[in-house]
Symmetry: C2
Subunit: 118 residues, 2 copies
């Protein structure tokens, strides 16, 4: 039996304009395209839009771990996570690419970034 190989978890907060922060459908299409492009496997998801602010919360279960985003258009920001295990291959580069693509998709400006190896 191999031993557990920790994966990389990126936690970020970024500011962005209200339009992408209120478009859950566009975010879902973007995440799906990223998951496909990186050869990841989605096994479940939940997207929920908030009636008042138009913000949304999304969690995506992957065989490799998960993605999540919580948007706050009323504050012009979002908290984003991507965590991929390294079970079959080293996914650390994919974690960073997926975060960079997300930041670009939202036209975001990074406010904080934490990397946890776990």
């Amino acid at each position: 039996m191999h031993s557990y190989t920790p994966g990389l978890h990126v936690l970020a907060t970024f500011t962005a304009s209200p339009a992408p922060l209120t478009d859950a459908a566009a975010c879902q299409a973007f995440f799906d395209e990223q998951i496909s492009q990186h050869g990841l496997s989605k096994v479940g998801e939940a997207y929920h839009s908030f009636p008042g602010s138009g913000g949304f919360t999304a969690v995506v279960a992957l065989t490799e771990s998960h993605l999540s985003i919580h948007t706050w258009p009323e504050y012009g920001l979002a908290t984003f996570d991507v965590f991929l295990s390294n079970y079959r291959r080293d996914n650390s580069a994919t974690v960073r690419q997926l975060y960079a693509a997300t930041l670009a998709f939202f036209g975001g400006r990074e406010q904080s970034l934490t990397e946890v190896r776990r």
Copy 2:
């Protein structure tokens, strides 16, 4: 407009015996009970069990942010997250209580703990 108040995100890795690490249904019932007990609001979820190892991956979307767990019975461990925003009230104590209850539920032994205020 109030400004954004960062919430507490706990990321933990703990070891546990295989039985709870392969029982997604028991974990789901436990999470649902915790969510109810703490007055949190679930807006979506995904639970997926792995055919080979019996491990499972779960993500739960809350109006307050999310919970996730990824279990690895073949290594006797799990990675767990709970992140609650402080939108309507300070949920920091709830985050720590929910983590402590999860550790107790799994009969787990903490291997690593990271707290991120975000």
